[in-house]
Subunit: 469 residues, 2 copies
């Protein structure tokens, strides 16, 4: 019988994003939009995208197998597998069942968990569910595994520059270097139509631009207030941004993260928190009596709070922004890619620190929660997680595509969709640019069954021969 | 701070199925199929179906509000809400967010949980997630709420007779009359294409009839073996069907439930369990050395095990079959409708008993788990749950539709879908046959936003006037 688990949290992480890169500055020129429209304005640099031989299943299979291999985890040690995604490839069969292939080969079929769905929030729901399992009476002593996987594809137009794709796998168990502070957590869940996907055969969301950013910020405010209240109950003192070393946000585009952090400062100001000094007080004083609605509309407030927040942003948020700025909107993986960026940048100084995480999904669902970090023990140490994820090299090693090439790939993808050719198609050169050991998507047979393969040295060889032909 | 919870489980239940009824015998005649094709063969009597003014959201809103009202639960006492469904009406926005309307009105937006997806198994995943939350360190002392909601609609042909629809709401918390035995549980999860829904704009599944029943039975065998092993570890004695008073199954059609229970007896026979007497042993002896695959193909074995199982089936399974036989396949709600049937039939003799539950979803995911029952305390007592659900009266009070009327309703539904008129349509007479206080689906506006209403005495009056015009 398993003993009562303590310090339950994330033991290990692995990230996979497509080995593709599009420089958004080049896309601006190609699309003949104003300079900065895809870069300075949203605060983004590059985007990643899946080409024909990757999808949410293959990306998550890659992340999971890499994680198991690199941390030397026996697949039989996994007792639960939770997937978060908003990329629906089947209305019934979960992505979790595809991933069972990896475990069935080793004779392990006793693995609880399915897919958690609500827009970009599904990954956080999956993570909470997995952590709760370890803390429950039905825990059987094995590890939990969480996968966030999404591919964000938008119709031609300015939205297309806000795509992205990634899968992140996280191992969950007791005595973790990344511990959940379960009592310091607040949610804001509401029935709204900000971003939704009611057209089931299209990947494009319906977006109400007017309300979508406000919904995010309103949820942020409510979660922050709730978290502050709960912290004060647990710790007996007021919470302000001083009480956490870092803040990571769901990051559809970086500018929203900057706004959001400014908003936290504004909340601290309204609550008269100690973090706000005299000069900040003066800058924010004109906005003290705004109603909530007025405050979301006020550009002056937005600018003033970002100005006050700037030095804190550079210290507490900027280290979380690398991957989201380089890969784009990864939906469920976005927040955890921000956290992975932090581990990459700061793993050697994170022990003892608290990180506040803000997860958001349209519809809407949001939670702000607290993680407490410690060095951990190899292989489950902050240092090793950063080493395994190897973020800098992976970002750097991506193939750069020009905007016309990007158009071709997305065009191919859309043609398949628009002409209704959704079954009986096969990739031209599956696995071509993927790293060894990665899984690739082969295609879909006449019965709509999806095929996948693993890139072995033999396949590498075969592809090379095709290229050389 | 909440104290450590004990005996976590289901405190209260409520069920809502559409107030419609189609007698399958009449559909046989109408469809000119052989007598028994929709009744004796699958073991079904009637089916329920949604007409134009109900969908998975309205049904679940009805079940949730009825539950809160009838058990006098303040909506602010809910801290978590998990939904299980396989009826996807939006690829991003969860059904849980629709249900937030009920709680937002009361100022409660701090409610964790989203939708759990994998075919008919999603409800079980949602239930486990909710129970685990109560047992976790992040539990805040409030109740959890679980909703299973689905509407099964099939294309014209014999499959259409296997539809159904229902929503079931369950309140979760400590000191429950229906307690989860978390250590007596086993899952079987596998990557298979038995039943799946890859055509995103269609509600029809792709079914591989050859393998689908075998997948169910194979998962059943594996889960039962796992559960027996775990029981033996916990209790120190062999498990057989003698060790549980009742067995409830995911019930797409009753014949599969009969087969499944026979299969458990066959497993007991192979494991040489005490439940198998000499006469049963003789009947099953010819099948002792079959391989697994042979055993799934053998009609003789199927008949022999059902023959041996018959007296036990009548005692331990038959009381769970009422609603599934009368309403049809309710997908995620199916297993819990079987359990509700048991509470309806046997609530006064269930205290102290163990019920084994088998949940299955295509793709595939399956878990067998154990519930231990006690009388409970009003309002959270077995007696009160049975009283609230009021199953007999509700089944009896349904409006009977003739097969041609049924065709018209499903035809209307399909026309909307096939002609792509998925937005900007409104129901002719929303709420007409629904009971007071039920929610109805009004329609979809040009921006694909779904509208709902609650049937009040005023609306009842209005509808009556329209009818009388």
């Amino acid at each position: 019988m398993a003993s009562q688990p303590n310090n339950v949290g994330i033991l290990a992480m692995e990230i996979h994003f497509p080995p593709t890169r599009l420089v958004l500055e080049e896309l601006e020129a190609h699309d003949e939009v104003s300079k900065g429209a895809y870069t300075t304005d949203p605060g983004q640099d590059c985007m990643g995208f899946v080409i024909e031989d990757e999808d949410v299943v293959s990306m998550s299979m890659t992340a999971v197998t890499y994680l198991l291999e690199k941390y030397a985890i026996d697949p039989n040690q996994i007792g639960r597998l939770d997937v978060g995604t908003e990329t629906i490839i089947d209305k019934s069969k979960s992505i979790k069942t595809f991933l069972m292939r990896i475990f069935e080969e080793h004779g392990n079929t006793d693995i609880e968990g399915v897919d958690s769905h609500n827009s970009s929030y599904g990954g956080t729901a999956a993570l909470f569910n997995c952590v709760n399992w370890v803390e429950s009476s039905s825990w059987d002593g094995r590890y939990g595994l969480v996968v966030c996987t999404d591919s964000a594809v938008y119709a031609k137009g300015p939205a297309r520059a806000t795509g992205g794709a990634a899968a992140i796998a996280m191992l969950v168990g007791p005595d973790a270097p990344i511990v959940f502070e379960g009592k310091i957590r607040a949610s804001y869940m509401s029935h709204v139509y900000d971003i939704y996907k009611p057209i089931l055969d299209s990947e494009d969301p319906v977006v109400d631009g007017e309300i979508s950013q406000t919904c995010y910020l309103k949820a942020l405010d409510s979660c922050y207030k709730g978290l502050c209240n709960k912290y004060e109950k647990v710790e007996g003192e007021q919470f302000s941004i001083d009480n956490a070393a870092y803040f990571a946000f769901h990051s559809p585009y970086n500018k929203l993260v900057q706004k959001s952090f400014g908003r936290l400062l504004y909340n601290d100001f309204l609550r008269n928190a100690s973090s706000i000094d005299e000069s900040a007080r003066q800058i924010l004083a004109p906005f003290e009596s705004l109603t909530g609605d007025e405050s979301y509309q006020s550009r002056d407030l937005d600018e003033a709070s970002q100005q006050v927040a700037k030095p804190f942003y550079d210290e507490k948020v900027e280290p979380t922004t690398l991957i989201p700025k380089q890969v784009g909107n990864m939906y469920t993986a976005s927040l955890y890619a921000a956290f992975a960026s932090l581990l990459h940048n700061k793993h050697d100084t994170l022990a003892g620190q608290r990180v506040i995480m803000f997860s958001y999904g349209g519809g809407s669902t949001a939670t702000m929660f607290s993680l407490k970090l410690n060095e951990g023990q190899h292989p489950f140490s902050l240092l090793n997680i950063a080493t395994v994820m190897n973020v800098a090299e992976r970002l750097q090693k991506r193939y750069e595509y020009t905007p016309p090439e990007f158009d071709i790939f997305v065009g191919l993808y859309e043609a398949r969709r628009e002409f209704g050719i959704k079954n009986d198609y096969w990739c031209e050169m599956p696995g071509s640019i993927l790293p060894p050991g990665a899984y690739y998507f082969r295609g879909v047979d006449s019965e709509y069954r999806r095929g996948y393969g693993k890139k072995t040295p033999e396949i590498e060889q075969e592809i090379e021969e095709i290229i050389l032909e």
